[in-house]
Subunit: 239 residues, 2 copies
């Protein structure tokens, strides 16, 4: 894939990079960064004027106050700001470090890449674009790498989704012993994002991975999107 | 795989179920439940006498006080007990619902399956047993399904590990634009566990999944184990 800039037609670029046998039951996992860049969801540090809260958080956590201001702009709520880490809930409802604002793989030190404004909408648009370009309708998953509260390392999760069931609910079904499964809902889309990340080197220019074999979770309609993976705030035990 | 009971030689059972071309670079992902059962890590509700704390937590959360006592016995620390959910840190340091105590896929309603006492040790023993049985030395990953604080649905993670790098550290390397990657450590083992879960139906008697293509993360020595995936308690922002 070439480098992506604001306004680039990424559906066309991805279609050109896809194998000729791209199929309806495939899942195309796309790193959010190229989606964000194509959508112009980029800010330059030199254009940011940090407010008082950003300056205070930056001083407490050893960060650039302008970068912190961008994080605050992307946050609906800051959950924790300690020891150099800011964990916040974004306006979409995603809970992650730095509101998903990222400085790696950008054109210069001055540029920060934000999450797409509507990642499910981005996934739907990309799916429609792929159908126009290729005549097939794979599911599209927009991914990002998230840290976890109690585990080290990051895993990729689905932040945008079109055409893949986000969750598979085993409840009410019976296990191999005939016993009813009680509390087992699998986060299929997040597992697909994590699986795709295993195939991708972060230092390569490979922004997309094709996942096959998940036909049973691929749906014709776009479905509820990755929004369905967000635990409602009133169920949050770790505010 | 047949049903597993305490004392069963699961290395032999897995070797018999494995494909003939099982190789050193493969990763055998094994659901902890058969490991726990083979190790006798099972308790019967009728043998449990709940204490006062268990009775109180059970009353507050609509649970069986005996099951709560088992959860408390497996917990080093209860982080949250609200709305029917108990989140605790196990003696191994794993943070999860019900200290990993599970009632599905057991012989009867009376039986609860615990996590292995030493999941990394279980993985190492299984790897050694597979080498004895098959003459090859695949990596072994013992998995469980964990919920997440802010996301719905469960994903599988590595709770025990032998022969697979738990984390891959991209820091210090350069991204595709030549910019240094700053905070990107991938939880490879958790991603492998999640990927394996996509290939497994929870209502089938399929306790193991063979993952191929991860040779670059498979190591000859057993390595640091899944313990290396635990965020140290002093770094925990969500106690």
């Amino acid at each position: 894939m070439p480098d992506v800039r604001a306004g680039d037609p990424i559906a066309r670029l991805l279609a050109a990079a896809a194998p000729p046998d791209l199929a309806d039951g495939d899942v195309l996992v796309v790193a959010h960064k190229i989606v964000s860049k194509a959508e112009g969801r980029v800010r330059r540090l030199r254009d940011v004027l940090p407010g008082e809260r950003a300056r205070r958080l930056a001083a407490d956590n050893g960060k650039d106050p302008r970068a912190v201001q961008v994080v605050l702009d992307e946050s609906a709520e800051v959950l924790r700001a300690e020891r150099g880490v800011i964990v916040s809930r974004t306006h979409h409802g995603l809970v992650c470090a730095n509101a998903g604002v990222d400085a790696s793989n950008t054109a210069g030190d001055d540029e920060l890449v934000l999450l797409p404004a509507d990642p499910d909408g981005s996934a739907r648009a990309l799916r429609a674009g792929l159908e126009r370009e290729c005549g097939v309708r794979p599911a599209v998953l927009v991914s990002d790498s998230f840290g976890r509260a109690w585990r080290l390392g990051q895993t990729d999760v689905a932040i945008g989704l079109a055409g893949l069931a986000p969750l598979h609910d085993w409840r009410g079904r019976r296990d191999a012993r005939g016993r009813e499964l009680r509390a087992t809902v699998s986060a299929v889309a997040d597992a697909a994002a994590a699986a795709a990340d295993l195939a991708r080197a972060k230092d390569s220019a490979e922004p997309a991975v094709l996942v096959r074999g998940l036909e049973r979770f691929v749906i014709r309609e776009d479905g509820p999107g990755a929004r369905a993976l967000l635990r409602p705030r009133h169920e949050d035990l770790f505010l």
